[in-house]
Subunit: 204 residues, 4 copies
């Protein structure tokens, strides 16, 4: 009745995976992702190198699984997120954005490295895609004229998504000088303005 057999993984397995994940994060912070080798990770985690390969095909796989688990969690928290009552009426930061920022804050050193020049482009890409997806969910609620001569929606999405990452980068590179809520508020106001401005009224 209780031990939920579908995810009752071997205790040793969970321990090993956790140790490897933590080691990877620490080392990435210290010397960048590219500069971190599988051997480094396993030595730090005090796990045999061959054991690493029993769980992950390479360091990128370890990375991916970490992100996947993490973003799953953020996604779960976000279920309480109610679309419809937050956009362009009142500038209140959406719940999901705040919880994303809180996660980023938790791993701020890690994100600082991963989104920077010692990081990994496919990581940045994943964050970007995640943000893009969020924006696209918002879009249908706004009037989207999309007249031919008009600024294309996709351009706008790419613009605000990258901009969002830019805001996050600023935040973590300056030791998060404001609360997640504050940043979320500024950020969503900027993005919403961009989108409304571009899609709503065309000045010319």
């Amino acid at each position: 009745m209780m031990h939920n057999m579908e995810e009752a993984e071997d205790l040793r397995v969970r321990r090993t995976r956790k140790l490897l994940q933590e080691a990877m994060i620490e080392l990435t912070i210290e010397k960048g992702f590219a500069g971190t080798t599988v051997r480094d990770i396993t030595e730090r985690a005090m796990v045999n190198r061959s054991t690493f390969y029993r769980h992950f095909s390479d360091k990128y796989d370890l990375m991916d699984q970490f992100m996947h688990e993490t973003y799953q969690l953020i996604g779960d928290q976000e279920e309480s997120f109610q679309p419809g009552n937050e956009c362009h009426t009142e500038y209140k930061a959406p719940v999901g954005l705040v919880s994303l920022l809180k996660h980023v804050q938790t791993y701020s050193s890690f994100y600082r490295v991963m989104l920077g020049e010692k990081g990994d482009p496919s990581f940045t890409q994943k964050v970007l895609k995640y943000i893009e997806r969020r924006f696209r969910h918002l879009l249908p609620n706004m009037g989207l004229p999309n007249k031919p001569t008009t600024l294309p929606v996709d351009l706008l999405v790419s613009y605000v998504s990258h901009a969002g990452v830019g805001a996050i980068v600023w935040w973590i590179e300056n030791a998060q000088p404001c609360s997640p809520e504050q940043l979320a508020s500024w950020l969503s106001r900027l993005s919403m303005a961009d989108m409304n401005r571009a899609l709503g009224s065309e000045g010319e």
Copy 2:
């Protein structure tokens, strides 16, 4: 008296460097930057591997020198760029932006890869820093209140710079569906609006 010594390089040297540069670009397009090895480059360039190391310390150095030469050229073209007469009065795309976009268009396949997940984070970083520098040149001309409770200028710069890269990414990933001038116009209007909006009047 000695043929303008700063650029009278040995013909063989210029040939070798050019071959290596072209090979690197081709291979990066084909298999990503990380996946391209020095041996690949030298084989494609039909140059001996040890010769590579006489000119560049590694592939990142080759990359850097390529970018440096290129952006030098763009910078030169941009000298005609007159700050002051283009911002927030009339939404005319600045000359420099257009010439940057034209350069990007010339190497669009290369940029598509380098700014994407097969690219190199330090490349992206350099492009970003370049754009940021451009924005900061513009800033002093605008009134910047920077009250404490207000959206920080640095956040704004990071926001619009990343957004600019986002626009470029959209452009090259969609086979440049509009002219450089058109994109420059859209892009500068969006950025200016962001900056004016945030710095000029605080709605709330």
Copy 3:
């Protein structure tokens, strides 16, 4: 009262050991002994790998136990072997040799591999030692002068023992083109001649 405790093994145990033995033989025939791994054996035997190690310390141990059991059997059959009435009087093949050859014939494919280049030197060595022992049993019955300048007995023993293996190798590599009895006859005649010739009369 307890059913002869030395061989009343658990049924499962006997089954497992037999399966493993057979698998080893098959695989050795197919891909040589060195090329056969413990995992191969257990997979073929449909037995868990850890079960293998409960019975044998490694594949060499499995090998040894197989040989030991087998040669025990041959030894038993050989008890009827009466030394003294077969050597240098009449060239009749000794019983023991024939039963050895019959055993070899039964496992001819296995011996073909094990005595060849995909085999195992320690296996060959064991066969050799077995044959040597047989010859040494015969020796005391012959007059052995062993004068200093004379061909040493040990050399002779090594000579005929290896020769015996050579005969067996020829036999199994040519699909046993003659009966065990025929080969035994030829072989013992050759060996006896060597030994008589060398030990009995020195031509020069």
Copy 4:
């Protein structure tokens, strides 16, 4: 006129190969061939492991090349060997056999291991094939009746070849208690007798 360009191999290359060969021989003597790893060899030779693989595909290849070079040399020495004047007329050991035994004596420790249970079956096989080839060269000079019911020639060849190895094994395992010439004499007398006896007159 002097630097014989066809075999003027890079001096470093010759040095490296020699060091590796010697290391392999030493280690094989110390711990057997199977028990010697590539890493062992390279450490002993004070050569980087990857350099090993630039010259040899694995330790077996190193072995083979060593044997090939060596037996080439023996073959060269043997050119003075004149078939026809040594067989079955006078029991004088053939030149080739003596030079083979001298080579074996030079590397006696190595051969002791390689032909024994810590050795390698394919090595033994090569030695065997070499000896077999020598015997077959001798054969045509003898009258070979080969009547159907008669002892097959191939059996005889296998018999004497293995026997020859047996003699060598005895020799090196007993610290070569006699001169190569003495052993060669005994050995060729035995083998010749076997072959004459079997092929010449059939007692029954």
